[in-house]
């Protein structure tokens, strides 16, 4: 709870800025468009249908769709104008949420303005109002309650949906929820839900007050509502301006080890006097592309992942050779610097409960292939679409009775509970030792090496400060320390936050002398 509260000013201010901008932009676009549609009834159906369609796209998918779109635009603008358009973080979130907020605003604007008493409209013309006067003096005041109701709905939706923007690297209250879910820190999840809900409820009530004031032409109510809203926004946004410049952007994929390593990198940057900003919970492929586009400056990836996904190779050379070739290929093709390996591997491995493995007499993946037809396979969300799975399948002829995908945490739960028989474990995962799992050997070396490596974005390639901060980490982190740090975060009781685990890790590898 204490650690959750410490993060609140940063998360809340970014959440407020994002959702506030999206609602304002949604209204700024939706209201004039609604007005135009009232005057041009022929376009009403297509426009409202399009807005409804956008609304049916799940919020997360809408955010995800904006990422490649902006990436392509970014490449385009880089080449043509030399202007870098960020494809991650604020911009895609803002665009997606703006689209999302437009439907209720648009629909209510159209409903409010078309539902007016025709006699009143006739009178407005007959007393000699111009179109503009009729709009300002009659249509807008009369439609205001319905239009405001639309803005309220949009505000509540947008504030809720903004929690999803964490997944495209925008810090928001969703960081509590995503991090909490990954590390099974339910206090974090609840805290994130509660703050987002309280924020949405507060905004809704204040907008309601303004709406009631507008309906009753009560200036005091309107003034109180606007003042409270203004002070609330100002208070929530202060940390953004007080925070000073954030020089480096540290990325992390969506599991505990990545959160801990990102904390470790941030700590190292602080030690050399630099500040940093975080983009957490990135998808595996998103993270590398974001780095190549310099949307993030540094993150930790794994050699085997880069080898198969980025270089699209399916041979499996041994670790040192792979690192060497990766270093030169990534630099040549993407301008990405591979600073070095951290010293431990986080390989994909197949793991079983020890009792189950013993009962079946399975110790290698080759043994497993004999029994696979009777077994259920539990994987993380991306494994089945990764080339490693194709390689494993082809090498051993694996064919399971059933396959199920989970977030990492729930995957271990499913194995513990016996819902699945085999899982894709990670070799640095603390839960392997803690749950007493048997890691199956890979006699045919179908899965490549997965050395954890530090990657630096093209725009930071020559950055001495960054190198000075991160070089001390290279080759220092043993798999045992990493497992322990991971387990601190993943265990069920006495959970540590990723920040605490990073401090532990720094001590364990002898970094935190100060």
């Amino acid at each position: 709870m204490q650690s959750a509260l410490a993060l609140l000013p940063d998360y809340l201010s970014r959440h407020v800025l994002l959702s506030g901008s999206a609602i304002v932009l949604g209204a700024a676009l939706g209201l004039p468009l609604g007005l135009w549609l009232v005057r041009h009834p022929r376009w009403r159906w297509p426009a409202l249908a399009a807005a409804s369609f956008v609304q049916t796209i799940p919020g997360l998918a809408l955010l995800a769709l904006f990422y490649p779109l902006l990436l392509a635009l970014s490449l385009f603008s880089d080449k043509l104008f030399g202007f870098h358009l960020p494809a991650l973080g604020f911009l895609p979130s803002l665009l997606a949420l703006t689209l999302y907020s437009m439907l209720p605003i648009l629909r209510n604007a159209v409903a409010g303005l078309t539902g007016l008493d025709p006699a009143v409209m006739e009178a407005a013309s007959a007393v000699g109002m111009t179109d503009g006067q009729r709009l300002l003096r009659v249509e807008m005041p009369l439609a205001a309650p319905v239009v405001m109701a639309g803005i309220r709905t949009a505000a509540v939706w947008t504030i809720g949906a903004a929690t999803l923007s964490t997944s495209v690297g925008q810090t928001s209250l969703g960081n509590y929820i995503f991090t909490g879910l990954q590390t099974e820190n339910w206090v974090f999840v609840l805290f994130g839900c509660a703050t987002a809900a309280v924020f949405a409820f507060g905004v809704d009530q204040l907008l309601g007050l303004i709406e009631a004031g507008a309906a009753r032409r009560d200036r005091v109510r309107i003034l109180i509502g606007v003042l409270l809203m203004g002070t609330g926004l100002a208070a929530a946004l202060t940390p953004l301006f007080a925070g000073g410049p954030r020089t480096y952007v540290v990325g992390a994929k969506n599991f505990s080890e990545q959160f801990i390593l990102a904390e470790l990198i941030s700590d190292q940057l602080r030690r050399v006097g630099a500040t940093s900003e975080r983009k957490d919970g990135l998808g595996s492929a998103v993270a590398f592309r974001a780095l190549a586009a310099s949307d993030i400056d540094v993150y930790v990836d794994y050699s085997g992942t880069l080898w198969t996904n980025v270089l699209e190779r399916n041979d499996t050379p041994e670790s040192a050779a792979m690192l060497k070739e990766l270093t030169s290929e990534l630099s040549m093709r993407f301008g990405v610097t591979l600073l070095g390996a951290l010293g431990f591997e986080n390989a994909y491995a197949l793991a079983m409960r020890r009792d189950r493995a013993a009962a079946l007499g399975v110790h290698s993946i080759a043994d497993l292939a004999q029994h696979a037809g009777d077994l259920t396979f539990g994987t993380d969300l991306e494994f089945l679409s990764r080339p490693e799975w194709t390689a494993l399948k082809n090498a051993y002829g694996l064919a399971f009775k059933a396959q199920r995908s989970y977030t990492p945490t729930f995957m271990y739960r499913a194995l513990e509970a016996g819902d699945v028989d085999v899982i894709t474990a990670f070799s640095s995962d603390g839960r392997i030792a803690a749950q007493g799992l048997e890691v199956l050997t890979d006699p045919k070396h179908a899965i490549p090496a997965y050395d954890a490596v530090v990657l630096i974005a093209p725009r930071r390639a020559q950055d001495e400060l960054l190198r000075r901060a991160l070089t001390p980490l290279i080759g220092k982190i043993a798999v045992g320390s990493m497992r322990e740090a991971n387990f601190m975060v993943d265990r069920d009781t006495d959970k540590a936050s990723p920040g605490q685990a990073a401090q532990f890790l720094a001590r364990a590898v002898g970094l935190s002398a100060q």
Partner: protein, 274 residues
């Protein structure tokens, strides 16, 4: 107020409707066909006819709420088509069955709306609101009320005040008292006729109630199926001027009057017996 460009001749009539036609369905049927009416200064003209006869359309040509397909409408000798529509409408009062008071404005603001559009000063507007409430026989306290707190008759009085506030010479009325109960309707009708005379207005009113037309009008225009089938003073029309259709229209109030007269007589007779 009305610009002088396009003035063709010195008007003998204040409003001239000159061979206008209008179709709302691309020419399949004519809502108004080849209709001509001239209204002299100070005249009270009432247009009667069945529903769909084209009365309202004819009226709305004058303040350009409807534009004719063919023909000309002139006010004080100037073609209305050459006058900016909002400017034209601010100089013509308009009262209609829907009343159409602005629900978010107080009665005073409703009355003042055209004077405000014309840019009158605040003190002129304030005293005009007082004057208008007196004129239509409503207490001053009503200025602060919202339209939702008015009865139907009061609301229509306010709408008459709104139409007259900017001192128009011409007032157009479209079934103005149609939605009111008979007593209120009669009272408002005769009250308005008095205002018309006192203020020297020129009024064109549309109604389907022939009796109302006979009682209020200086001259009656009868329309059927978009055409003007007869024009004349109430007396002329009652005496049988115009075609058979007009005669049928006039026969009803005549018959009603005779019946009422006979009921009155019978009542007298009964009293004599007792």
């Amino acid at each position: 107020m009305i610009p002088c460009e396009g003035r063709q001749k010195m008007p003998t009539a204040l409003i001239e409707i000159d061979k206008v036609s209008k179709s709302f369905d691309g020419g399949k049927t004519q809502a108004v066909e080849d209709a001509s009416v001239a209204v002299g200064p100070g005249e009270f003209i009432v247009v009667v006819g069945m529903s769909g006869a084209g009365k309202t359309t004819l009226l709305k040509f004058i303040n350009r709420l409807v534009e004719p397909d063919r023909g000309d409408v002139r006010v004080e000798g100037t073609r209305v088509a050459s006058i900016d529509a909002p400017t034209l409408r601010r100089s013509i009062g308009y009262v209609f069955q829907g009343i159409g008071l602005f629900p978010h404005m107080r009665v005073g603001e409703n009355i003042a709306v055209t004077t405000q559009l014309l840019g009158w000063g605040p003190s002129a507007i304030a005293s005009r609101i007082k004057e208008m409430l007196d004129l239509v026989g409503l207490p001053q306290s009503y200025a602060q009320r919202f339209p939702s707190a008015l009865s139907g008759g009061e609301a229509q009085r306010v709408s008459v005040a709104r139409a007259l506030a900017a001192r128009p010479r011409i007032v157009l009325m479209d079934e103005p008292f149609g939605a009111l109960d008979p007593v209120t309707r009669d009272a408002l009708g005769s009250a308005y006729r008095q205002l018309h005379d006192r203020l020297g207005l020129t009024t064109m009113m549309v109604t389907h109630d022939v009796q109302e037309a006979l009682l209020l009008a200086d001259r009656i225009v009868v329309m059927s199926a978009g055409r003007i089938s007869a024009q004349g003073t109430p007396r002329e029309l009652m005496a049988g001027a115009g075609n058979s259709e007009t005669a049928a229209l006039m026969a009803m109030p005549k018959r009603q009057a005779e019946r009422i007269a006979s009921i009155m007589q019978r009542k007298d007779g009964g009293a004599a017996h007792g």
